[in-house]
Every structure is written in structure tokens, then in C-alpha cells.
Amino acid sequence: MSFDFVEPVVFAVLAFGVIGAGAAVVLLDRITASALLMALTFLCMAGMFVLLGAETIAAFQVLIYVGAITVLILFGVQFTKQGGDRSYALFFQKQYPLAAALVAAVAIPVALFAFSFTAPAPPPGGGDIRPLATSVFTDYAFAFEVASVLLLAAMVGAIVLTTRDERAEAARRRK
């Protein structure tokens, strides 16, 4: 009795989680539920990365997406007053069948083309952290530095955008 059935079963569960939670993010009315289901999508995605043998990327996925971006979105939800938003009503419009047909025309050939790839050779052991680290810090060191500058710019920009100017607001209130 071999364990060959484990990988497809785990993949099926994770795929169901990803697609189901993704659909729920779009369809649900309550925005906090959407945010938490988005976190579930990210977790199932991390599981898929582990199935593909990329465990460092899976760890980064959880660290960045679940640990930081979901919290950021939840902060954004709590600082704004959310009204009702009947999302699914917009699905029942007359352009919808045309849009779905276009999507199918693109998606189905892409998926069929992807199925034509043969099974890969199993990757060498030792995990994926060493090849990844070597690539990022030697071949793509410049891109890495540019990404850091981008993050710095984003951080400064976000702070500048959300800083309240106390004196200007007090002056506006006095007027």
C-alpha cells in the first residue's frame, strides 16, 4: 500500500480551498468575512507552494500576506464605515454572458496548453532556499536593491498620505 494518493488528495483539498475562498471574497456581503476568507486563500496558496517544493516561498507567503497584508486590510476596514454593497446583483447584467464567453475562450486554451507539459524531473533535495538566495543576491542583486528602494518609497508615501496636518485642519474648522 503506497502513499501515492496523498499528493492528489491534498492538492484537491487545497485547490478547493483556494477557489472556494476566492469566490467567497468576491461574493460575500460582509467585508470582514471577505478579509478573513482572503487570509484562508493565502494559507491554501502557501500549502500549494509547499506541494510544489518551494517551502521558503510558502513561508514568505504566510509571513507577508497573512501576517501583514491581511492585518493592513483589516485596519483599512475598521477605519472606514462600510455600507451595504450588494455585489452579486451586478453579476446579473446583460453583458455577463459575453464576458463569460470571452473568459472561457482565453482560459480554456491556456489550461489545455499547460496540461500538455510532461511530468518534471523531481527537484534536487535540500530545499529551495539556497538556490533562491544565491540567485537573488548574485544574479539579481540590482533588482533586489531597486525593490528595497521601492519599499522605502511606498513607506514614506503611505505615511505622507495619511499624516494629518493639525494646524491646517484647526484652521479649516475655525473658518
Partner: protein, 380 residues
């Protein structure tokens, strides 16, 4: 696929092994929390010149057990307007990442759940998932004090993740691996890493105190602030799970990281002969660190939220970045020996400890000048 003991079929042994591992981790977390609550109360009592629990059992040892039974038997009070799903899910979201961290802690030479080659990264990842549970707990309580407490706690946790990770990165730079077993093995004999990288140890220890919501950084959960912060609506065993189990479990995980990275993990006299002795040394070292944390809790007052955030962003993070830069440059310049790194690290520690009074004196003078200036402006 491994064959189980007594020739058990791998098909049964693999899931059975998983169940045994989870049960063992849960057992360790529960008993650890029991022991640590008792230790905390006794140590605080001794430092505060009183007795602590002494009624229930010899030396009050069964006190926590009695408290746990009381918590389980408590009525499940729930406000009507709380969001049912999220209110129930939040303790699980806070507890599960902590439980999952136990799988990479190296208790002895061969006694580790899984020797992941990204063990340290895995631990930091799980540490960052707790924030989500706390925000959800604060929001689901439908209570403005809980909400603000949850947001404050989340802000504190994500801020202090940064110096924590930077300190861990500096150790990984010196050791050359993220695997917990490799890091333990790289510290041969009595020359453990605390002699090589004391500054990283200091930074990580302070950041870890903040990450586990321990005093002096326990503003979000203190009972005198914001009612009880994000835990306000939780009572009985939910509170027990969130606070006691998760927090003390987190403290144990963090102490295990400190022990593995800076104090040699399971190594000690006699481990080569009897490998199981490593568990004893590991436990002793971990509880040594925990006792120091409790000592700090009984001694230092609490920081305000703005003092906390200022200390992180304007104090710890620049120091952690400086630390990484120094360690990286020296590790590249002198790749064979660890002595320059050790020298530089100890110099930084001495500079930090000696420099704090100067910085504080200057800030006090600045505050006094600003206060007197505004008083003059108000009077005129």
C-alpha cells in the same frame, strides 16, 4: 515510508505519528502553562516580599490546577451583539500558530519534530500569524475598548517583529544556516553564541518581551488599561486559552529560540554519553530564561503605548540595522574567525548600556524645555 514500532504498517503509523506529535505538543503546552503560572505567582510574590499561593497542595503547587478547573466550569458569558463566528474563531487563531511552532524546537540530539531547513523562518512566520487573531478578537467583541485594545496590540506586535527578525538574521549570518539543529551544533563546547553575538541577544530579548506581550510591554492586556484591552469580552476557558495557554506557550517558544540560538540548546555536560540528557539541559536553560522574564515582569513598570512605539521605531530598529551591518561586514571580511564579530558585538553592548543614560538625560532636558515653553505661552 517508515515502518512503525512492532512492525506497524506505514499506512497506520504515519497518521498515528502525527496524532501522537500533536497530543504531545498539546500536553507540553498545557503543563508548561500550568507550571509557569505557578512560577510567575511565586516569583512575583518572593520579589514583592509576600508568600504567594500556599494553600492548595504542598507549597501551593496545585493552585493552578484548581484555577484551571474553575475556568472550565465557568459560565460562557457572551454579549448578544458579538459576531458569533469570529468570536469563537479568535482564540483558535491565537492558539494554533503557537502550537504549530513546537514542531521545530530541538529538545535533544534526535528529539525534534521535524528538522526543517528553514526552521527559523518557520518560527518567525508563525509568530506573525498571531496578530490576525488579536485583531479579530478585538473586532468581534463589539466593544470599543476591545477594538482599540486589539488595534494597539496589533500595532505593537507588528512593530516589534522587525527587530526580532533582524536579530535572528544576524545569527543566521554567522551560523550559515536556518535549521535549528545546525544552529545548535555550531556552538561547540562552552563557547556558546551569547559570547559571540550578545548585542543580537539583547535586541532579540527585548523584542521578544514585546512580542509575547510581557511587561514592560504588556499595555494591551493589562487589567488596569482599557478595562482589559482586547480580552474584555472573553471569560472562562476562552480567556484561559487566549491568555494563559497562548501567552505562556509563546513565552516558552521564544525562550526555546533564545536557548537554541544563544545558549547552546541541548548541549551540556554528559550529553554525548546519554543523548536523553539533552532534554534536561534544554528544559533547564529554557526555564532559566523564563525565570528572567518573570523577574523583569516583577521589577519594571509598564510602558505607555507611544513610549513603546517610539522605543521600537527610533531605538531598537536603528540598533538592529546597525547590528546587521556590522555583523555582515565583519563576517565577509574575516570569514574564518568569529573573534572580530564577538569584539564588535560586545563593544556595541557596552556602548548601548553606557549610552542610555546620556540619551535619556538629553530627552528629559528637551521635554522640560518644551513643557516650560508651553507653560510660558499659556500664562501669557
Amino acid at each position: 515510508m517508515p515502518v512503525g514500532p512492532l512492525g506497524l504498517d506505514p499506512l497506520f503509523w504515519a497518521p498515528l505519528r502525527l496524532i501522537i506529535a500533536v497530543a504531545l505538543a498539546l500536553f507540553l503546552v498545557l503543563n508548561g502553562a500550568l507550571l509557569q503560572i505557578y512560577l510567575e505567582r511565586k516569583i512575583q510574590a518572593i520579589i514583592q516580599d509576600r508568600l504567594g499561593p500556599y494553600h492548595v497542595g504542598p507549597f501551593g503547587l496545585l493552585q493552578t490546577f484548581a484555577d484551571a478547573i474553575k475556568l472550565i466550569a465557568k459560565e460562557d458569558v457572551r454579549a448578544r451583539a458579538t459576531d458569533p463566528w469570529f468570536f469563537l474563531a479568535a482564540p483558535a487563531l491565537v492558539f494554533c500558530p503557537m502550537l504549530a511552532s513546537w514542531v521545530v524546537l530541538p529538545f535533544a540530539q534526535d528529539i525534534v519534530g521535524v528538522d526543517l531547513n528553514i526552521g527559523l523562518l518557520y518560527l518567525t512566520t508563525l509568530g506573525s500569524m498571531t496578530v490576525l487573531g488579536i485583531v479579530i478578537a478585538g473586532w468581534a467583541s463589539n466593544n470599543k475598548y476591545a477594538l482599540v485594545g486589539g488595534l494597539r496590540s496589533a500595532g505593537q506586535l507588528i512593530s516589534y517583529e522587525i527587530p526580532q527578525i533582524l536579530a535572528l538574521v544576524s545569527v543566521a549570518l554567522v551560523v550559515g544556516s536556518l535549521s535549528m539543529i545546525d544552529i545548535t551544533r555550531s556552538q561547540a563546547g562552552p563557547l556558546v553564541n551569547v559570547f559571540v553575538l550578545p548585542f543580537s541577544f539583547l535586541i532579540y530579548f527585548i523584542a521578544a518581551l514585546a512580542e509575547t506581550n510581557r511587561t514592560p510591554f504588556d499595555l494591551p492586556e493589562a487589567e488596569s488599561e482599557l478595562v482589559a484591552g482586547w480580552l474584555t469580552e472573553y471569560s472562562g476557558m476562552r480567556w484561559g486559552t487566549m491568555l494563559a495557554l497562548s501567552e505562556y506557550g509563546n513565552v516558552t517558544v521564544v525562550s526555546s529560540i533564545v536557548t537554541t540560538l544563544w545558549f547552546g540548546g541541548w548541549q551540556g555536560p554528559g550529553v554525548d554519553a546519554i543523548p536523553l540528557l539533552g532534554v534536561l539541559w534544554f528544559t533547564l536553560k529554557v526555564y532559566g530564561v523564563i525565570v528572567v522574564m518573570m523577574w523583569i515582569r516583577a521589577t519594571l513598570p509598564r510602558l505607555r503605548i507611544d513610549q513603546l512605539m517610539t522605543f521600537c521605531w527610533l531605538g531598537l530598529i536603528p540598533l538592529a540595522l546597525l547590528n546587521i551591518m556590522v555583523v555582515a561586514v565583519l563576517a565577509l571580511a574575516f570569514p574564518d574567525t568569529k573573534i572580530p564579530i564577538a569584539l564588535a558585538s560586545w563593544l556595541l553592548v557596552i556602548a548601548f548600556i553606557a549610552g542610555v543614560p546620556f540619551v535619556q538625560r538629553r530627552r528629559l532636558a528637551l521635554l522640560r524645555a518644551r513643557a516650560s515653553a508651553s507653560a510660558v505661552r499659556a500664562a501669557s
